[in-house]
Structure formats: C-alpha cells, structure tokens
C-alpha cells in the first residue's frame, strides 16, 4: 500500500514487517523518530517485541549481542556519537557472527556539535566487519532494511542500513509498504546453527589462541566476500516478489560518459538532476551510485568506470591525512586496471552544508577543464579559513 512516509518511518515499517523480536536503542538526533515509532509499535502491540530502553548505545549493542545469541532477530538505530560509542561492540557483533541489523542516520561528529548530514560516522566504521548499504530515498530505505535481514542472516554478519540525516530521515515521500505475507515469503524465520541453549551448552565467543584465531578471521573475510554475490541473489528474490531492485551499484548514463560522478546517499538524486541539466547541453556525463559499500563491489565499479575518461568522486566525509573515503575506495578498486582514468576527489557538504546541482555543475566544469587532478582532494564551497597555528 502506498503511504506518504518519513524516511525514519520507512525504517520502522520495515522493522515491523521483518518481525523483529528485540529492539534496543538510545536516543540521538536525528535517529529519534525511528526509535520513537518503534517504541510506540511495541507498546500498542503493533509489534510482538521487547523494547529495551538502555542507558547508552554501548549497552544497546551489548544487549542486542546477548539477545541475538539466543537465536532471535534484533534491531537498533543510531547516529554519529552513538555509533562511535558502539565501536568496540561493532567488532564484537561481526566477530560473533551475529546478523544484527541497524539503521544508521549519517550525522556529523563533534566537536563542534552538529546534528546535520555527514558520512564520516558510518565510514569510520568500515573495518568493523559490518555490511554497509547506503540509501537514496524512502522506498530504498524500506526495501533495503528488509533485504538487510535476509542478506545478513545468509552470511552471518551484521548489516548497517545508512540514510542521510534530514534529507532522508526527516523527508516525507510516497513509499509502497508491502503486505506482511509478502514479506514473510521473502524473509524466512531466523535459524542460526549455534545459540545459547541449556540443552546444548555451547560457550560463545570464548578465549581463542593463535592456533585458531586467524582461521576465524579468514572465515569472516570469506563470508564478507560471499555477501557480494548473495546481495545479487537477495535482490533477485526481492524483485520477483516486489518488482523493485537497486543494484550494488547503479550506473546512470555511464556507457558513453567521458566524465562519471561517483556518488552515494541522497547526493545521487542531485546527480540525477545534474544529468537532466547537462545532457541536453551535449555534455557527456554519467553518475555511478554506490549503494553497497561493505563489501565493496570492486568488479562492478571497474566495469562501470571502464569507459570513462575522468572519474569524479564526491565525498560528504573526510579521512584526515588521507582523502575522501569513497575516493580512496574507488582508487583502490581501479588502480590495477591498466590505463584507468584519473580520479578527481571533491569534498562537499560536510556537516549538512547543501550540495546543490549548481555545485555539482561547478565541479563538472572544473574537471572538464583540468587534464589531471590539481590535488588529491579539492574542498568545494569553502569560505576563507583562518588557520589556527
């Protein structure tokens, strides 16, 4: 049924439809709408679940690790400082092979206090062994959350569904909310092999000596690699029932493009408008949307960028001492392809500053006029900065 929903509400609907049994969360703007709705669902019986109102995000993730270890489905949502506080337990969840799903609302990290959109929070967690899926609109948020459970439970790894603060979390859009029986057909009950069970008293996550640790890590690495192929399979199954699919990446007008923009999150929508603006003027420009960030879809990225003369990566995030994080990943993906195009890294929109079509157009003509990148990262839309000495 089509409904007009906030991005946050789309997440909550998906969690309800996934028949999650334990939810735990700690409030942080702009994640709050998600958890308020879910709290209400549990209170009013719209969901048959427990809602643990814990005293911190750290405890939240610990509680979910405990809950999921009994063989039930769990959910949380957080943002920024909250995700950073969870860091230790993000590693724990993947190491313990628990397919916990969380919604992560991309918000800037302090200081200064800033509740607006910025991707550095989730990207800083890229090495924690979580699948990461970046969404563009409300429908994709709902669909991806349901798919995340399926994918996570196949490979026994946790998954993060990432959505932009406000641009997505607080924006109302028409969203098709599927029926429960359709979702049930797509998402079978969770049945893990090892659980906390007094009849079969396993010890979970015990001390592991150098004799076995490396093999366990290798198994996680294999599972993460496997998630790449499984993602396509999950999308296939999803499309058969719901007739919607997104792709690990989406190449928009890339086939004949000289310059391809690499985007993620809602900036992709701005990129689509850029194409509408520039294509009629004869500019050969394309957009490559990256949805699946972990595991990184290296082959798909190589294929999509194979014909481009120049690649532009727009990063709403930054790794100090290095560059934009998507730019790093794209460089790493194509560096072994002979004759690969140069990568132009642009930093834009940090801490919720708008990324407009005009800004992307400026970037486009800047790149068109440069044979090679002037710098590793070009910060755009920057006011003059008095640097502290």
């Amino acid at each position: 049924m089509k409904k007009v929903l906030e991005g946050s509400h789309a997440v909550a609907e998906a969690v309800r439809l996934a028949r999650v049994q334990v939810i735990s969360a700690y409030p942080i703007t702009p994640q709050t709408h998600i958890v308020e709705i879910l709290s209400d669902y549990v209170t009013t019986g719209k969901m048959d679940a427990k809602y643990l109102r814990v005293e911190s995000e750290h405890s939240c993730m610990a509680a979910l690790i405990g809950a999921q270890s009994t063989g039930i489905r769990t959910f949380t949502a957080t943002s920024s400082q909250g995700l950073a506080l969870m860091h230790e337990l993000l590693h724990w969840a993947s190491g313990a092979r628990l397919p916990i799903v969380m919604a992560e609302v991309n918000r800037a990290l302090a200081p200064g206090w800033n509740i607006w959109n910025d991707q550095t929070d989730s990207l800083a967690q890229r090495d924690t062994g979580w699948i990461q899926l970046y969404c563009e609109d409300g429908q994709e948020v709902l669909d991806t959350t349901i798919q995340a459970y399926r994918l996570a439970e196949i490979v026994n790894l946790p998954a993060m569904v990432v959505l932009d603060a406000f641009y997505l979390s607080h924006t109302y859009e028409p969203v098709d909310v599927p029926d429960q029986d359709e979702v049930d057909r797509f998402l079978p009950p969770y049945k893990p092999a090892f659980i906390l069970d007094t009849k079969h008293p396993y010890s979970l996550s015990p001390l592991v000596t150098p004799n076995a640790y490396m093999e366990m890590r290798y198994d996680i690495a294999m599972a993460m690699d496997d998630a790449l192929g499984q993602f396509d399979r999950v999308e296939e199954e999803f499309a058969m029932i719901f007739d919607r699919r997104y792709g690990a990446v989406e190449a928009i007008d890339c086939d004949d493009a000289d310059i391809v923009f690499v985007t993620s999150g809602t900036v992709t929508s701005t990129g689509r408008l850029l194409l509408e603006e520039l294509r009629p003027r004869g500019e050969k420009v394309g957009v490559l949307k990256i949805k699946l960030f972990r595991p990184f879809p290296v082959e798909a990225v190589r294929r999509a960028l194979g014909k481009a003369k120049k690649v532009v990566v727009v990063d709403r995030n930054f790794s100090f001492g290095a560059s934009g994080i998507f730019a790093q990943e794209v460089r790493a993906a194509i560096c072994n392809v002979p004759g690969h195009p140069p990568i132009f890294g642009y930093i834009a929109g940090l801490g919720g500053r708008d990324i407009t079509v005009q800004l992307l157009e400026e970037i486009y003509f800047d790149v068109k006029g440069s044979a090679t990148p002037r710098k590793e990262s070009i910060w755009v839309g920057l006011q003059e900065v008095n640097r502290a000495t």
């Binding site: 427990k50 109102r53 005293e55 769990t74 008293p201 015990p206």
Partner: protein, 293 residues
C-alpha cells in the same frame, strides 16, 4: 557437611585457574546452587581465561563471553530474548570481576538494575584487575599493594562499597557471600534465583597470585575477612530490609593483614587506622540493620 545443592558438577576439572583460586571455588558453588537451566554472561575477567580456550570449556552450561563493561547490558538482552521465546524459567546470571563491576561495567550494571531486569549479577571480588596483572581497582582495599599502587604509593583510598551502591537502586535483593561460607553462599544463590527482578551477589574470592598468599591459605583468609568484619555477611531486601548473617566475636584486622604479602609494607599505625575504618563501617551496618553494638 552436606550441602543443599546439586551433586552433579557443572564446573569441570581442567579449568586453568591458579591453585587455590577463590574465583573457581565461588563458581563451583554458585553453579551447584543454580543448576543446569542457567545461561551465563561472562565479561572479560580472570574467568574469561579460567573457562578454557576454544574449543574447550570447563563449564557445562551455555556461556556468552562478552566485552568487559557489558555484563549488565548483555544479560538484559539475553533475558529479553529468552522471555520473547517464552522461556522465563532459565536463570540468566552475569559473572564478573570487581573491575567489571565496580569500575568499567558500573554504568551498564546500574542501568540494568534501574530497569529491574530479571537476572542475577554475581561479582566475584578479588580486589584488583587480576587478569591484566594485579592493577588496582576501586575495589582494592585501603592499604593494598598492586602493580599500579607500588612502594610508598600503596592504595590510600577506601574500597568502594558496591552493595550500598546497589541498595541505593532499591534492588530487590543484594547480598554479600564468601567462599569460606558455602552454606550461606548456596542459600543466597537459591534465594536470588527465586526472586523476580534484579539480584546482586557480592562474593569474596581470594586470589593467591594477586594477594601474595600461599594457595593453601585461600579459604583461611576468606574466613578471616568475615571474622574480622572486613567483609561482613549480610543481605538487603528491596533496598531497606537489612539482615546481618554472621556476627563475629571481636577479631583484630591485624591478623588478616599480617598474612598477606600485599599488605606487608603497612606499619602498626596504619593497621590501627584500618581497624578504625573497619569498626566504623561495621557500626554503620549495624545501624542500618536496626541493631546496636
């Protein structure tokens, strides 16, 4: 002596605790009292190692090892999930050291108890971070040497009173227990198991390695801790009803301190001062229990 507990051992031989380890004795009695329908949450501590390396375990119950500061939180999640599965019968117990309880895990513990989660939180107290090599914790007593309170810098701060902190939460049940008093310990574990909501057990567990005592002195010293009023045996219901379980005849703390290498540097004047502290704490407890010395 016949104990009112399972004959079956839920803790096996082959554990890797030090000889004379009080924490292993405590575990053995507690599991005998709880029985097989028990799930254990085990944050980082000596017991993370004592339990044995993958793929072995010295415990015949399901165990979830978890991060150091998450004992209260992980147990909350396990409880919630078991309840959702319709299993309200299985006991969930967190088994943590003093560091994981008094210090880094205190927030998660306080949160769980404020929510009155239905579980037992057992802290085996060896009065320092033993797993990492005998560093001081807020449970380390006044006067003690540890590897981070050495020489003239021996600990000059009092031990945190953890039971009183829990009592301030109006926890349904809080009790102290001691490995040298197994009947009392087992009775308290069984009592805790039968009560709904959060329960806290503070179990004195001597540590030959960290305290610089011979392993065969483990129980003797544990008994003396009670006899000297250094570690009184008592229980508190609903944050108000105090019962003192054992009233020793005047023993001097001096005897207890003289036996342990960790207190070797203390002078008689230090011991006099400690005696006063212990007396003061005991009077305070008597007052709370409505008794007078």
């Amino acid at each position: 002596m016949q104990l009112d507990a399972l004959d079956k051992e839920l803790m096996c031989s082959g554990h890797v605790g030090c000889p004379g380890c009080g924490a292993t004795i405590a575990m053995r009695f507690v599991l005998k009292a709880l029985g097989e329908k028990t799930v254990m949450v085990l944050p980082a501590c000596c017991w993370s190692v004592i339990a044995g390396p993958f793929p072995q375990s010295s415990l015949r119950i399901p165990v979830i090892h978890t991060a150091f500061e998450t004992g209260g939180a992980t147990a909350s999640g396990v409880r919630a999930a078991l309840d959702m599965k319709g299993d309200t019968e299985t006991t969930v117990i967190t088994w943590a050291g003093d560091g994981g309880t008094f210090d880094i895990g205190f927030q998660a513990l306080s949160g769980a108890v404020e929510r009155n989660e239905d579980f037992i939180y057992a802290c085996y107290d060896n009065e320092a971070y033993m797993n990492t090599g005998i560093q001081r914790s807020s449970s380390t007593p006044y006067g003690a040497w540890t590897t981070t309170t050495t020489g003239a810098d021996w600990k000059k701060l009092r031990k945190k009173n953890i039971v009183e902190a829990l009592v301030a939460h109006r926890i349904p049940y809080a009790a102290t227990a001691n490995i040298a008093f197994p009947e009392d310990l087992i009775r308290k574990v069984k009592k805790a198991k039968a009560i709904k909501g959060s329960k806290f057990l503070h179990i004195y567990a001597s540590c030959p390695t960290g305290w610089r005592i011979p392993s065969e002195m483990s129980i003797k010293i544990a008994r003396m801790a009670v006899q000297t009023n250094i570690f009184p045996l008592y229980e508190v219901e609903n944050g108000v009803n105090y019962t003192i379980n054992y009233k020793p005849k005047e023993y001097l703390v001096r005897e207890y301190f003289k036996l342990q290498g960790r207190f070797r540097h203390l002078k008689d004047t230090d011991l006099d001062q400690i005696q006063e502290m212990v007396n003061e704490d005991w009077w305070l407890l008597l007052r709370k229990a409505g008794e007078h010395a």
